[in-house]
């Protein structure tokens, strides 16, 4: 399991290959690898210049590890990767990535969706949209993100 909380960019391809190589080196014999990558979207009217992501340094890795441990306990997984950035990001940059590996595709898919649903609402990150006119808007949590957790209750 690898968890990285970082301000720098990461390379989707490099991380995907490293995850796959790790499986092969460990003899995990996993047949299914799922990745999810989140990318900063531009606002529909184009007035967002950047996304600022604040986090809670002591708690962030701890909360993510708890979520990843829970995924390992619920599904039969050969490995889990979570990368989440913080700081100032511009539209088009990747925010975060999860990867899961399992013998069976359903486990890998469900675990990746579970990780995403929990990272959205239970990992201590807060997004602020920085606009062209200098204003900043805190992104509000969506009811639908909270409701997504019901699926795993």
């Amino acid at each position: 399991m690898r968890i990285a909380v970082q301000d720098g960019l990461f390379d989707i391809g490099e991380e995907s290959n490293r995850f796959a190589a790790g499986l092969s080196d460990s003899g995990a014999n996993a047949g299914a690898i799922v990745t999810f990558t989140g990318v900063v979207r531009g606002s529909d009217n184009g007035d967002m210049v950047a996304m600022e992501i604040e986090h809670y340094p002591g708690m962030t890795e701890r909360a993510i590890r708890k979520i990843a441990d829970e995924a390992m306990a619920r599904w039969s997984l050969a490995d889990v990767l979570v990368i989440h950035r913080h700081g100032r990001l511009v539209p088009g940059e990747q925010i975060m990535m999860v990867a899961t590996a399992s013998r069976h595709r359903l486990h890998a898919f469900e675990a990746a969706e579970f990780l995403m649903d929990y990272l959205k609402s239970r990992a201590p990150f807060w997004k602020k949209e920085l606009l062209q006119d200098g204003a900043g808007n805190w992104v509000e949590a969506k009811d639908s993100d909270e409701e997504a957790l019901d699926r795993w209750a």
């Binding site: 975060m96 239970r122 805190w138």
Partner: protein, 81 residues
Amino acid sequence: MDILYFAWVRERIGLPKERVETSAATVRELVAELSAREDRYAVAFSDLSALRVALDQDLSDFDAPLDGVREVAFFPPMTGG
């Protein structure tokens, strides 16, 4: 006890962190104590349903006891992912 604030809670209160001496028994009592201190706290804590709290870096709730807790953090619902 260290108290931390994040996102718009931090902005409204005007600082990221402070040390507070308190005899509050629960989070809710601590919130009442802070809110009585100054208006900016009262404003930030005016709607607890819009806030979340973590005790020693674990999500908790406003009725949780504070005995032995060293770090309390207040913040809005998280928007990660």
